[in-house]
Amino acid sequence: MRRFVQEMPIRVKAFAASVVLLICLVVVGGYAYQAARKSAKDFNELSKRSLPKQETISSLNDEVIATHVQVFRFVTWASNGVNAQLLRSISDGVLADLVVVSGRFKSFNARPDVSPAERSTMADLFTRWEKYVDAVKDTLDVGLTDAPMATMMLGATDDDFQKVASDLGRMANLAGMQTRAAAQEFVITAERNREVLALGAIAATLISFFVALVVGQSIVKPIQSVTKAMTEVSSGNVDFDIGDQTRSDEIGQMVRAIATFRQNLRSQTLRLDTALNNMSQGLGMFDAEQRVVVCNGRFARMYGLSPEQARPGTTLRQIVERRIANGFYSGESPAEYMKQQLAPVVRESNIIEELSDGRAIFVSCQPMADGGWVTTHEDISERRRIEKKIAHMASHDALTGLANRTHLIERLNKALAKLAARGGGLAVHFIDLDRFKDVNDNFGHDGGDVVLRTFAERLRAMTRGNDEVGRLGGDEFVVLQTDIDGAADAEDFASRIAAALNTPVKFNSYEIQATVSVGFALSPADGDSPERLLKCADLALYRAKADGRNCVRRFVPEMDSEMRARVQLEITIRNAVFHNRFVLHYQPIFEIRTNRLLGFEALIRLPAEDGTLILPMTFIPVAEELHLIDKIGAWVLQEACRTATLWPENLTVAVNVSAAQFRAGGVCAMVAATLQEANLNANRLELEITESLLLDDSEAIMKELRMIKAIGVAVVMDDFGSGYSSLSYLWRFPFDKIKIDQSFMTGLALSGRDAETVIKTIIALGRELRMHVTVEGVETAEQLSFIDEANAEQAQGFYLGRPVPESEISASILADFKRASSQGMSPLEGQAKLRIV
């Protein structure tokens, strides 16, 4: 039951309480109404019946008395002897009055409110009245004629009157008593009503009070607990007793809503806590009184505070004091630090605090609208360290730890600025390992790296304070030597560098012997900008390399002009590539036995600005460095093929293909496409390669060569005998032809028989290997006759024909025709003595 009452919805409770109050009100009010009605009725009774009855009796009495007085008046006047007429009129008046009064008696008797007691009293009275009336009538009658007798009779009449009067008095008394009784009853009833109403009101008040108390208890208590719960929630506590959630009334709904709210708050708080405590930054929120509102774990740990020491409510002063006590402060003194920390936060600020323990903390403060502020603290020590490292990495070489180009130039700039201000001199040494590629090839990249690192160490060991050692990439080092004492000092230093680096490097169980070339330049003598000095040193190095490596060269102004010439050459090459300015010259190749033209070797020429032609041996290496050799090679092939199509079909065209082209790949495909485009038969094309191509011993290149041979293009070994001249190349690939290098022809004149033997042997070797052999560089008739005797098959050289432009080829072809005709042979089979065209 108690529970039932408790869980009743509030509106039902309120309704029930209202109903109870209403019932009380209706009961009390109804009773009051009834009582009032009864009072009104009683009063009405009193005023309408009792009072008029009394009045009627009273007036009746008056009338009876008046009538009786008239009787006396009549008798008196009769005794005094008034005339009969007057007496009669008086008598008539009395008689009329008697009739009226009798009527009144009758009408009184007819009243409905006359009680039986009254009625019987009234009947007696009326009887007496009748008797009186008779007496009066007799008296009057007698009086008209016999006044003394009338007087005599008056006594008896008066007796009757007295009886009537006495009865009337009794009646009046009775009526008065009735009225009094009614009034008394009325008063008593009113009094009782008053008491009943008072009691009823008290009872209703008590009942209402009780009901209100019960309802109030069952509403107010839960609401109080709900209010308490809400207070807990608003103070941030999420672990509080929430009350009975199973109630079915509005309180239950409220409690469940709070439970949901608490759940949300919990998860939010949890999320907030998780977020706060997983932040990489320390976070503190302070209110306007400089007290902690929220503070995460990292903030506390960062300053060595226990969670208790940083809990909400702690003052900033306490926190700063503990931080100082823990030795975590910045600035000149703890006092200064305290003052600075307690200054009010009025605007956003971001500062870095260098703490006394060496850490750097990035502190960001953000004021809030309520006068408090949020501050985040981030330990950026590690970031700073990394930033320094990154900065170092950006300016230094990872492998050796030496300065990189950028940093070196920076240092050089500074040194040069100092030089301009204070005078003195500096030197830039450019160091390059000789044939570093061999070191890598022989010892692997690990070996190469060890050498580079060792060299870096040695160079660093040799330098002084303001000097700097840099690595520009690959095997290039630069040493900035400051405060030099003249050129001799720099030269001496360069020599010492070379000597130091030429000492073997230990790698595992090996000793790596590497040499270096050094070029150096001086400031202010050679220049005053980093770029200029590095270029000068590079030029000197270039010279050292050109002079056979493993040596030291100082920059001299002539290198500049060489440099300018080279730059000019580069420009010329580039222009020629992009504007197709190259030209091909063709040198004829003859069959010695028949003296017939076999074909031409296409030789590239670069027209210079001044109209002269630059030879390939000058510009091809430069073109290779510029990575333009592919384009040039492709152009040569196309141009040669195109030209060859204009020739008699028995003539071949030979084209030189550089190793760089092969390394780029796709030569065979390009050759095939070119042949097709030019519509030239594959067997009219010969590709000349040098043995350096085979040095790499690359399977990819061998495959490419086989494919070229497969499509019908002849593959020719050019300049055989000029380099390594390994005979093994000759059987590693089935060349179609060997061209004996022209140096052998030169050697023929100088070395005599030994050279002759070598030439004869190579010619014989070629024949044995079923390869055609062309002897290059035939410049004299003697040479021609020698190789003819040596059974050489083909010859090429100035004696037989210089390289000529395309326009002049037709002449030599025509001459060949003429020779053939003069010998009475068909042009194709012609045999003639060789003659210069």
């Binding site: 009658d141 007698v142 004629t145 016999d146 003394p148 007798m149 009779m153 008896a156 007796d159 009757d160």
Partner: protein, 119 residues
């Protein structure tokens, strides 16, 4: 004179008796201040030799100035012993003033008969 009335009554009956009593001209019932009267036993005056106005009136309640119910006394005497005297005050037929009078009463059948005189 009472006896004359009695005789008349016996002789002529009531009506004639009454008529005779009332008739002032009959000297046998009228003599100076003497006159006869007849009442029934209920007090109704049947005849009065001096005051005809009273005839027919019920005077049983009549009382004199001393308060004496004289008619009732008369009835009482007539009833028992049947005859006697009654003293009372009454207007004299001579002076027409209230005088002390006496009357002799006798029963007469169902009636009473009396004769009054001044004292």
């Amino acid at each position: 004179m009472v006896h004359r009335v009695q005789e008349r009554f016996k002789k002529d009956g009531l009506a004639a008796t009454i008529e005779a009593v009332n008739d002032k001209t009959t000297p046998e019932f009228h003599d100076r201040d003497l006159y006869a009267f007849v009442y029934n036993m209920q007090g109704i005056c049947l005849a009065n030799g001096a005051r005809p106005a009273l005839v027919g009136k019920n005077l049983i309640s009549l009382k004199d100035q001393d308060g004496k119910y004289l008619i009732q006394e008369m009835v009482a005497i007539a009833t028992s012993p049947g005859s006697g005297w009654v003293n009372y005050k009454w207007p004299s037929p001579v002076t027409n003033k209230i005088e002390d009078r006496s009357a002799y009463i006798e029963k007469m059948g169902d009636y009473l008969v009396g004769v009054g005189m001044d004292r």
